[in-house]
């Protein structure tokens, strides 16, 4: 294994992971209703393509992506669309948001699925990406960024390292751990798909050293299916090792540029759960409709459940605890970066990895003690993994000196909460940073608005002239694009890209460059050269999943 790099700062936090890994992951009970927010990801909300009263099948698309950065949503089970409109959303502000509500019929009848298990290596990159896009797959590690975008490195960019993030550094959460223990082979098969899509030169599955069973099972799955194609990096348990910037540094020694993306240093990161979803989408045509969720904290029986999206938190907690009455605080996510919710009546969505329950009885959840003045002890600066000076950020955020907070690089702060955790004065530092960021965004927006008004006035004269030029340019591009369309298989890409001739032309050009590149390159370690035996094994995994699905449906009918 290659050398690892130690990122600066970080903290050791009590893990409390052992409580939720005592039992194997079960399927959560089929809920009485499912509430699916149209906005479960970064980017534009999806748009409903079903109507109230319509009958839907399990896995049927019910809302489509409206933009390049967006993701479709599928029915997690078969049933009837009972309502489309605002419902309480899993948002820290407690706001309501547009949702589709489904009443399950209990039959679990699947839509027809198209498998690409045998031919995905033959698909051209954009078609493969489109399979993943259409399955509604977004980053399951937290942010929910549409995954297919990350699988497109952009023109002329080579991916040196593909990092599969199985770190799960937040205390309490064990869903990725359990997924790796229980479905390592699916994960490895999914990694092979992504490896193929990116033509990555090196692929690493990174796991924290506090998950020995997961490491073992992933290693043995690799040994069977993809010997020598994938490395496992065992990372020391230090929070926040699973944060993307820290992980990229730990594996490659490179720093992701400020406000930039890992791909700028030749790295793509994908979460373990996302990879398993990619496997199901490509090998089975199954869209993303469920995930592993850890239900833990102060519940009778902390555990992981495979949960359909749209399941209401209260129902889920009730499966692990007799009493849901005296809950004081409900956190979606971990104790370091999770969000406290206003109500139990919210649905779980693609990015919900953990439901953490606090009834005010355990000291590890004790709220802040009396907030004291900053004693300038510098403990915060010692643990900041970005090497910021949290104390100075705090002074300026408190004074609302928005220029100075930016000089001290507020926007590089990942809100990991390390500084806050160790502050002896119990100052809610992260809250100050969020406040300052919000203020800056708001002012920026106002400034843009007034700038726009001024510009609009100034450019009025010139606009007519420019319009004329643009019309001409459009005509030219359209001609080019039409020509391309005839020759290029890109036509499976999303509708808006197809219709926008400019974008289509750019995409076509990018594709050309990539194709040229990959044809010249020596073949990297990849699925393309798997052995016959390995193919056979993958087929077996596929068979197993198919049977599971059929059983499901069978039991649904019974």
């Amino acid at each position: 294994m290659k050398k690892l790099f130690r990122f600066p700062g970080g903290i050791e936090v009590p893990q409390y992971k052992e409580i939720s890994i005592t039992q194997a992951t079960k399927k959560a009970k089929l809920p009485a209703r499912l509430v699916l927010p149209l906005h479960q990801h970064i980017g534009a909300p999806a748009e409903p393509i079903v109507a109230e009263g319509e009958i839907v099948l399990k896995g049927q698309k019910i809302a489509h992506a409206t933009d390049y950065v967006s993701a479709p949503i599928h029915a997690p089970t078969s049933g009837t669309v009972s309502y489309i409109g605002d419902r309480e959303a899993p948002h820290p502000s407690g706001m309501r948001a547009p949702c589709i509500e489904i009443i399950p019929d209990g039959k679990e009848t699947w839509v027809e699925l198209t498998s690409h298990a045998r031919d995905y290596t033959a698909l051209d990159p954009s078609s493969l990406r489109n399979v993943i896009r259409e399955a509604g797959i977004v980053g399951l590690g937290g942010a929910g960024f549409p995954s297919y975008i990350k699988l497109n490195p952009g023109p002329g960019r080579e991916i040196e390292t593909l990092i599969i993030n199985g770190i799960e550094c937040e205390p309490y959460i064990t869903c990725d751990d359990m997924l790796m223990r229980e479905r390592a082979d699916e994960i490895v098969a999914g990694v092979l798909v992504i490896q193929h899509a990116l033509q990555a030169k090196r692929t690493v599955i990174a796991i924290e050293d506090n998950k020995p069973e997961a490491i073992e099972s992933v290693k043995s799955a690799i040994k069977q299916l993809a010997e020598d194609l994938i490395d496992v990096a065992v990372i020391p348990t230090i929070y926040p090792a699973g944060s993307e910037k820290q992980l990229v540094y730990a594996i490659t020694g490179e720093e992701v540029p400020s406000e930039g993306l890992p791909v700028q240093v030749g790295v793509v990161c994908q979460n373990i759960g996302t990879v398993a979803a990619v496997y199901r989408a490509v090998h089975h045509g199954e869209p993303l409709i469920s995930r592993y969720v850890t239900i833990t904290g102060d519940v009778d029986s902390p555990q992981n459940l495979e949960v359909l999206f749209g399941t209401i938190v209260e129902e889920l907690v009730a499966q692990c605890s007799d009493n849901v009455q005296d809950i004081k605080r409900l956190i979606i996510g971990g104790p370091m970066m999770g969000f406290a919710m206003h109500s139990l009546n919210i649905p779980l969505i693609k990015t919900s990895n953990c439901v953490l329950v606090d009834r005010g009885r355990h000291s590890q959840f004790s709220g802040r003690e009396h907030i004291m003045p900053c004693i300038r002890c510098g403990a915060c600066a010692q643990v900041c993994p970005i090497k910021l000076l949290p104390q100075q950020l705090y002074w300026y955020a408190k004074a609302e000196d928005l220029d100075q907070v930016q000089n001290y690089n507020l926007f590089d702060c990942i809100e990991c909460g390390c500084c806050d955790y160790v502050c002896p004065s119990h100052i809610p530092l992260v809250q100050y940073y969020r406040f300052a960021k919000g203020e800056i965004w708001q002012r920026e927006e106002e400034r843009l608005k007034s700038d726009k008004a001024r510009l609009r006035h100034e450019f009025r004269e010139r606009r007519i002239e420019r319009d004329k030029q643009e019309a001409e340019e459009r005509r030219r591009l359209k001609k080019e694009a039409l020509h391309k369309k005839a020759t290029n298989a890109e036509n499976k890409d999303p509708a808006d890209e197809k219709n926008d001739p400019k974008k289509a032309a750019i995409l076509a050009a990018m594709e050309r460059v990539r194709e040229k590149k990959s044809s010249q390159k020596i073949n990297p370690k990849n699925t393309d050269n798997l052995s016959k035996k390995q193919h056979q094994l993958i087929d077996e995994i596929d068979e197993r999943r198919k049977r599971q699905r059929q059983d499901e449906q069978q039991s649904g009918v019974d």
């Binding site: 109500s343 606090d358 590890q364 809100e415 806050d420 992260v430």
Partner: protein
Amino acid sequence: MKLYTPSSPHTHAPISVTKVMLKVLYALLPGIAIYILLFGWGVLINILLALSAGLIAETIMLKVRKRPLFPFLTDGSAVLTAVLLALSIPPIAPWWVPVFGVVFAIIVAKHLYGGLGYNPFNPAMVGYAMLIISFPREMTSWMAPKSLTETELGFAESAGVIFQNPEALKHLDAISSATPLDYLKSQLGLDHAVAEIIQSNSIFGGIAGAGYEWVALAFLLGGVWLIYQKIIQWHIPLSVLASLFLIAGIFHLLNPEQFASPLFHLVAGATLLGAFFIATDPVTASVTPLGKIIYGAGIGLLIYIIRVWGGYPDAVAFAVLFMNMCAPAIDYYTKPKVYGQRNE
């Protein structure tokens, strides 16, 4: 059901200002115990006086400034200021010296600057500086360790000396003595060589001052424990000691007749107490890693310069106060490179 919705993180390390200050106080205990053992009850009376005065001054100031009493009185910062100042005052000084010093430190150096966390100067050292300027005679009249004097003062007699009882004051001549640093300085002024001076007077011990050196080593022990406990970091103490050792070493090599050995400087006076307990005072020190090293090195250098060429026998207080002034500027110029930011 109303749920509680604070901002993340939702958990916190089991630490608080009180715990930090308490650990610093624990780390001082071995030094204090040996100090009392070797020098008598005056040390303890001194500390108790400073403590009472400090807590009363703190309470009054919190009341005047309309701050909640409980969290601030129990934060331990006033206690620590009082103890540190008491340790810098001769155990036979009259009662009003520690009382006045602590009251000045708490009221002027701490609260008039805005209280805990806002004071740019170390309050205990401001108190010390004020005392040595106002009462130079009382502040430089130290005592010899019990082992070197015929008379040994009991608790009552020690209290008598401190409270200026005329009966008890008769003992004063028998027990008082200059500090080794002080004596060395005045003798060097008379053109004696270092070795000769150290030979000539029993107040010098194995390394530095008889008795005092043991107290200093106990403070070193406490300081190392603080680093081990992660209450302080190694940067400041190490750079204070290293820079002092280096400059003292250079001059000692050039002219051992005139300049005492580096080891002497490390152990003499308040060096070790200062390096681990005073220079590391979080509120007033530098905070960036490189800044801490510069800050510490500055203190070490200034200690030497003031001891050897300055007007005061010991120099920790002035060195620390001077570097307190520089700390904001040092921090500004030593900002660490932020992850992902390009090098300028």
